[in-house]
């Protein structure tokens, strides 16, 4: 059963996507039913898989594509199903399902400009993405994983650029693609290195033999993989694409850039944890990256004006939490805290994004200056929003609280037991981030839900609606369930999460800090009607808002030198290399003018010369031989 379920989670979305992309106009009216049905079945398969794995134990080898003999190594492109893959699969399937249902109203509803033509393509691409993510989750072989990894990249590109009529969307899509591709290069090289040195890319072999491989190889591979992780999971310094990726439709942001794809990097580390454990340096690097990213991104989130960008930066920050949790591992079973946070984050962040979509739907803008007073206009939505933000901030007893505290506890545990300075860095950074998270979450709630209704945007906004379709609100309740209740997993943790523990002192501190932040911000907002971000000095705020001007830095350090180099090369090509061909060209032209007299246009005449020439060559050959 586990085998079948795991196969189905990969195959169903793939089939749905192919059918959606390649069937003709006759099936277009059914695109909606088709996509929803597909994602529901996929969810069912994932739940079955969890059940199977918990009941019967993991299945290490599920044949998918058979064996490939590359000459230096035989790759068996198989799948596996264990608790890690099963739980993440459920998260992915659940979010994908909610997003598909949500999109039927948000993008494919009556009257939306996308409805007739672009919605089917959108739904099919989402299915394609789901399938690719499932492939990554279930891959037993790194090559197979890489295939899924790349397909995710391309579907992400397509989805960010969904509104391809907008320049900004196209630019964002290209940026996301290039940046993540840059990271993927590392993964590709790592896989090649593994094929050459370890002669295998089967994950179980790699994990079993991680200790035997040469230390230098393992370190290099781990660092290269980390590059891909940073790209896919939007970690410093490859995080710049994610805030821009908010150009994509909100459901896409919810699915890809919040819940699933960005988690793929963390997933990869968790999956290959023994390999990373064999390379201490890589884990330390990961911890440092995570520490920098979580705090930096949280601060940036604080300064944003755009609701979606707040959520985007918070995603970067939260993914850094996960990475930190995984990087604190000291044994192969220690992936628990990071994965736990991955699961809970998937639930509450998807919910938050979808709520943001609802708010946008009502207001016609994603800027927070246009929002406000949601508590009065739509109490249910504002309650849901509050739950999501509270989960994000780690308010007990919501899911975010449990998962975040396990991460902090792991850091503390590591710091206390010889984890060194990196663990202390994570712990301190994590505490500070918790505080900042509380602040910006409360700020977002205050701006959106409290106060009075703001005037609509000057241009009237695009698509202001009076009410929300039930397809959009329904899924919020669905997502609210795990957001609230996921902590119950801690009561009777499965094997995967057994390493996730909560130490009381750490938890107390980690709870009090955000609560204090929240209280202060709400007080400021309700009593003084002040935006906490206004307290920041203007220049600093702008600096944060632009994401530390990292784009400018990259522009100066990478883009401009490359462009200059290209100009030099082009000039050299034009003035030095081309001189020869140009000279040849004029020579040939002169020759051509002379020769054109011979072109009589008489076919048989040409053939005569041809035959005579062939004859001459033949005779010459005979004579010379």
């Amino acid at each position: 059963m586990t085998t079948t379920a795991a196969l189905l989670t990969v195959i169903i979305p793939a089939v749905v996507s192919v059918l959606g992309l390649f069937t003709g106009s006759r099936w277009r009216p059914w695109a909606r039913e088709w996509a929803v049905l597909g994602s529901l079945t996929c969810l069912g398969a994932a739940v079955l898989e969890v059940y199977g794995v918990l009941a019967d134990g993991p299945v290490r080898q599920i044949t998918l594509l058979g064996e490939v003999d590359t000459g230096i190594a035989v790759l068996s492109l198989d799948l596996r199903a264990d608790e890690l893959s099963a739980f993440v699969a459920v998260a992915v399937a659940l979010v994908a399902c909610c997003v598909q249902i949500y999109s039927t109203a948000y993008l494919g509803g009556e009257g939306t400009p996308d409805e007739p033509l672009r919605y089917p393509a959108f739904a099919a691409t989402v299915s394609l993405f789901t399938s690719a993510m499932m492939l990554v989750i279930h891959a037993e072989d790194l090559v197979l994983l890489l295939m899924g990894w790349e397909i995710m990249g391309i579907s992400s590109y397509l989805l960010i650029g969904h509104h391809s009529e907008r320049d900004s969307a196209r630019a964002a899509a290209v940026k996301a693609f290039l940046v993540t591709r840059f990271g993927d290069l590392g993964v590709t090289i790592a896989v090649v290195m593994l094929i050459v040195t370890a002669r295998t890319t089967a994950i179980r072999d790699l994990l079993a033999r991680a200790e035997e491989l040469p230390q230098s190889t393992v370190t290099a591979v781990a660092l290269l993989l980390l590059m891909g992780v940073a790209g896919k999971s939007a970690q410093f310094p490859l995080h710049t694409w994610l805030p821009d990726a908010m150009e994509g439709p909100t459901p896409v942001s919810a699915l890809i850039h919040a819940a699933t794809m960005v988690a793929a990097g963390v997933f990869l580390v968790a999956r290959l944890l023994p390999l990373f454990l064999a390379a201490d340096a890589a884990l330390t690097v990961a911890a440092v990256i995570a520490s920098i990213t979580m705090l930096g991104a949280a601060l940036a989130a604080l300064a944003q004006d755009d609701l979606k960008r707040v959520l985007a930066w918070s995603t970067i920050s939260q993914v850094a939490y996960m990475l930190a949790g995984v990087s604190m591992a000291q044994a192969a079973t220690d992936a628990g805290p990071g994965v736990f946070h991955l699961l809970s984050h998937a639930a509450f962040k998807a919910m938050l994004f979808l709520i943001a979509g609802c708010v946008t739907h009502l207001v016609g803008s994603t800027l927070m200056v246009h929002m406000g007073g949601l508590q009065r206009t739509n109490l249910k939505l504002s309650v849901l929003f509050g739950i999501g933000l509270a989960a994000l901030a780690g308010v007990p007893p919501l899911s975010g609280f449990w998962s975040k505290e396990t991460v902090l506890t792991a850091a503390e545990h590591s710091a206390m037991h010889g984890g060194g300075w990196a663990a202390w860095l994570v712990l301190v950074s994590g505490m500070l981030t918790a505080l900042v998270t509380g602040i910006y979450a409360a700020r977002a709630y205050g701006l959106v839900c409290l106060g009075d209704r703001r005037p609509p945007p000057a241009d009237g906004g695009h698509g202001v609606h009076d009410h929300l379709p039930s397809a959009m609100t329904g899924v919020l309740y669905v997502l609210a369930v795990p957001t609230v209740l996921l902590g119950l997993l801690m009561v009777h943790p499965p094997e995967l999460l057994e390493s996730a523990e909560i130490a009381l002192p750490t938890a107390a501190l980690g709870t009090l800090l955000p609560l204090a932040g929240i209280a202060w911000v709400l007080h400021l907002q309700v009593r003084c009607h002040r935006d906490v971000a206004d307290l920041l000095p203007g220049a600093f705020r702008a600096f944060l808002r632009s994401g530390y001007r990292l784009d400018d830095v990259q522009d100066a350090l990478v883009v401009r030198p490359v462009k200059a180099l290209a100009r030099v090369v082009a000039a050299g090509d034009r003035d030095v290399v081309d001189a020869g061909p140009r000279g040849t060209a004029s020579l040939a032209q002169a020759g051509g003018i002379a020769l054109r007299r011979a072109q009589t246009g008489l076919a048989t005449g040409y053939v005569t010369w041809l035959v005579a020439g062939a004859l001459a060559v033949g005779i010459a050959g005979v004579v010379l031989a």
């Binding site: 007299r597 072109q599 009589t600 246009g601 008489l602 076919a603 048989t604 035959v611």
Partner: protein, 148 residues
């Protein structure tokens, strides 16, 4: 027993004849006839090759003369293929010639020199054929002007 010189000479003679037809004729269909002869020269060689004993020429030089033991008898298979290709080729070539004739009312290759540099395309006056003025050429000339 057949002396190999016979088929070989026949092939050579046919090839020479075909080449002559290819080069000396002005009528496009006649040119094709030359090409067919050329192809058949090749076929004669192929079929001759299939009569060689197993091991081909080198075995022949050793004095073997038995029938070919090669189960592929490539010569004959290739000969059949050549016939097939010739059929495809000539059909297409004739279709082109028919199109030319409908456009220009001629299948004389010396009148079709549009691709040449030296001649002014289409300005060649339609020649007289068989002593009678080609009135039909007016149609051809007209279509020429339409094309230009």
């Amino acid at each position: 027993m057949i002396h190999l010189a016979g088929p070989l000479l026949l092939a050579a003679a046919l090839a020479g004849t075909g080449i002559y037809g290819l080069l000396a004729r002005r009528n496009a269909i006649m040119v094709l006839i030359g090409a067919e002869l050329l192809m058949n020269a090749a076929n004669v060689l192929l079929v001759t090759a299939s009569t060689l004993p197993a091991g081909g020429l080198s075995a022949l030089a050793r004095g073997a003369s038995g029938p070919s033991g090669d189960p592929l008898i490539p010569g004959q298979v290739m000969a059949v293929f050549v016939v097939t290709i010739a059929a495809a080729e000539i059909g297409l070539a004739l279709a082109v010639i028919l199109l030319l004739f409908r456009r220009r009312s001629t299948s004389d290759l010396t009148l079709v020199t549009d691709l040449g540099e030296a001649s002014e395309s289409g300005s060649t006056p339609p020649r007289q054929r068989d002593g009678e003025p080609v009135t039909a050429a007016a149609v051809g000339g007209q279509s020429l002007q339409e094309e230009r």
